[in-house]
Symmetry: C2
Subunit: 566 residues, 2 copies
Amino acid sequence: MKLSKLVGERLKETPAGATSKSHSYLVRAGYIKQVANGIYTLLPPAQRINLKLQQIIREEMDALDGQECLFPVVMPKELWQLSGRYDSIAEELVRFKDRSDHDMVLGMTHEEAAVHAALGSLKSYDQLPFMIYQIQTKFRDEARPRAGLIRVREFTMKDAYSFHESQADLEKYYQKVYEAYFRIFNRMGMKKVISVHSDTGMMGGKVADEFQLLTDIGEDTIIVCPHCDTASNVDVATSIPEENDHIFGVKTEVFTGEAKTIDEVCSNLNKRPQQIAKAVCYAVVGDSSRIVIAFLRGDKEVNESKLKALVGAEIAIKDLAETGLVKGNIGCVDLNIDGAEIFYDKSLEGLESFVTGANKEGYHYIGVSMTRDVKPEKYVDISKVKEGEKCPVCGNPLLVKRGIEIGNIFQLGTRYTSSMGLSVTMPDGSSLNPIMGCYGIGVGRCLASIAEESSDEKGLCWPMSIAPWHIYLCPLRIDDERVLSQAERLYKRLLAENFEVLYDDRNASAGVKLTDSELMGIPVRIVISPKTLESGKLEITLRSTGEKFYVSEESLSKKLDELIVY
Amino acid sequence: MKLSKLVGERLKETPAGATSKSHSYLVRAGYIKQVANGIYTLLPPAQRINLKLQQIIREEMDALDGQECLFPVVMPKELWQLSGRYDSIAEELVRFKDRSDHDMVLGMTHEEAAVHAALGSLKSYDQLPFMIYQIQTKFRDEARPRAGLIRVREFTMKDAYSFHESQADLEKYYQKVYEAYFRIFNRMGMKKVISVHSDTGMMGGKVADEFQLLTDIGEDTIIVCPHCDTASNVDVATSIPEENDHIFGVKTEVFTGEAKTIDEVCSNLNKRPQQIAKAVCYAVVGDSSRIVIAFLRGDKEVNESKLKALVGAEIAIKDLAETGLVKGNIGCVDLNIDGAEIFYDKSLEGLESFVTGANKEGYHYIGVSMTRDVKPEKYVDISKVKEGEKCPVCGNPLLVKRGIEIGNIFQLGTRYTSSMGLSVTMPDGSSLNPIMGCYGIGVGRCLASIAEESSDEKGLCWPMSIAPWHIYLCPLRIDDERVLSQAERLYKRLLAENFEVLYDDRNASAGVKLTDSELMGIPVRIVISPKTLESGKLEITLRSTGEKFYVSEESLSKKLDELIVY
């Protein structure tokens, strides 16, 4: 490819709104171009990477006996009603009417389509297990697209669906996919990828793992144990509760006036947050009659994913007007709210002399005891794990990291096969809904994640296995006839030898060319200049290490074969 | 691939509503599955073909220095407003609002996105020419999807866009693409592909060619000259007008009573249709004040594409109520309809004694003369060419054929670059809107067209170059331990030797297996049976010719290498 004809421009300035290296460099180096909020065109260099990423994924999926399909982007409402997701998914699911006034959706995931593909042909247990997958465009109407290709609305995704006759068989296959995922990310050149226990979210099912690339710009919070390598998304992370002191106090009402927040109450009563039980109130989305109140220790925060799972519905912070609750003075004794669903976090267990609101304006109780005054039926885990809390597996202190979710795998169970009526006949004549797993990889997000992880202060720096081109052929001073003629000759020769070459044929300064070669991140640069001509040696520079090699034209191909390995 | 695990079923019965061989066989052989009207899942065998077709296209586009991109499926209204197509395209363009109430469209073609990709980076004439392309999912809300993958709403398409500094340069490139298209269809194994002059339709521009696979089930009508090979879509086809006799008659009003249609008037007056001038009335869509009346010889039909181009707007047959026109008695003399736009077809030229309506109930004129009584300013070509009319190039009789449009190429001009403000600086400092070409191939339609052309009464019959697998390994009587063990051994060996094998490992009858192998259309079948074991020779059958070969296990690979060529 000649750079003079390559579509896309190299920019000096960081684009407005770029919040990550990958976003900035992918725009600046002419890899992507925004068309709308969260919607990008992949320009030729990015599409070359995209195809290489897809090929790595395809090979690994095929090695797991995956069968590649192509499911529709546009699907009818009826298919999504069968699974119940037409109604349960909010605005991320794009809905529209076609010209015949039929309700359609844009696919954001394809469990329904995968089950539909198997309906009819899948009849007997001995057709199990199998896995089908696709690599295709999806659209998810994200509320807040950000960071270039990290969080977009339209994206290319590999999604795979496996079908099994038993949970044990699913688990065996799930483990194989788990291992394949690490191979995939490794082949793509990503280094800091870890697997993380995660929430099953809108997919349903019980077991799920995410694959996270650890990076400070990641939008996910991950709780990691450096001792035993246990890692979980903060949404599901747990820790061993700190022991409270079990010392009983005397319950007494005290005037606290304007003191409402934890800080204000602590200051007013000379207490620590650990000595307070705070309340957070939620409304249940779609059912205005339900109120949820979470009590937890003052130094804790509610983990809404965990609470949502207990409530069994979407929740949102409740406006307290008309509830009878007194803002800043809600407490877990003398609380009379008809029908409120009350949850007590495990952090409160053993707290027998604490502060809580007195449920009237300007007053709190001190010396409250959980076992004597509150007597909860049970304690549940509804708080967020923080750095330094104890690992639930080995008891060592946990760390908080940030990551980009580049893949996820789910044990779905029979949610989709039973709701959509997919069943097989077992050897004993009985009928069984196959047990499903599903497995996703965001291809564009991998591209951005690799850009994020491997770039440096000069620009992008692609791993060899997925670089858009391997070689940046960089003649300096093409006004020098000898430079130009060697460059043209080498370009033809390298193409003939099937090397992937980006040829910087522009009549530009050495500064511009060398800077662009670094910004674009092509792994191997070959410089031709009056100087190299005099020495009779070409100058090869590795983008990743800066290492230089000087080789004659004759031994060039051999050297390139040595360098271009993956 | 083991057939027992392959997703998709083989059916005995033709599916309801199947109107073509390809539709029927692709469903019956488990290649495609309908999800909604005009929306299909490609099951694994079809997706394997899809990928091979894409690779052929990609190689040929890259050979034309094409740069592969990926444009978005979902685009914002604003982009399509720039070109004017947001308003000019009717219901085929899906429009919806995103969660922020922003108007979006689903891409059915990507001229706007291609120009957008070049905006900003394209600055100077010396960056021209270049071509960018993508292979991607498109959605076009067709009113009448039909014939399986022949006419669908969602489809995979290769669309390419080239940019030039002069019409001459575009024409040179256009010719290269033209030739590449024949190479592509040839490599895909299609035989009866011809190029056809066509209408530019909603694309705009002046020159366009379609690539049509000739087949009786095609939905396009093509006018072909077998003598000089001129071929045109009926929408734009012309012919040399038949000479009329120039004999003058005497204009006389006659009572024709209930005679309204051409047949009735001919019968009533004892005339031939060639002696009648008939009228067809149209409304202009979106402008109720305009009426269009087309007069043409009684044996001709209106070519609405041609008429539409003359009118410069969409047209639809007019309801005559409240127009003052007398149905069945409209004529081209004494016609007083304010503001009607009247067109006279060239078939009327030289007709000097003909019948036409008298514009009053129950009466016609006979003996009307064009030059004496009508005196049209000019004659235009608004009639459909019919079989037997004279080729406009060589004068020989034309044939009418039917075809499936599998690709099209357009010389677009500057419609998109000028409306979207894309310009380059020329050597003299002036500014120029690059001249564009665009080039499409429907990948799924190619798949269906190949299925249509190459299938026979037993089923599909894929060309070697794009077959989903090359080999159908077909053990008969796998209850025979020797058969099973040879089959298993051969399957592993063939895979290890990188042959593409579909292994029919089902415990099914010979009849079922042989029938399915033919229905699925895999080019090379290897039968293993008690009989072949006895003879010591495997039986190889070519699907396309039925030719058989008997080879030993040792010489199998060599024979397969001979047979699997493309």
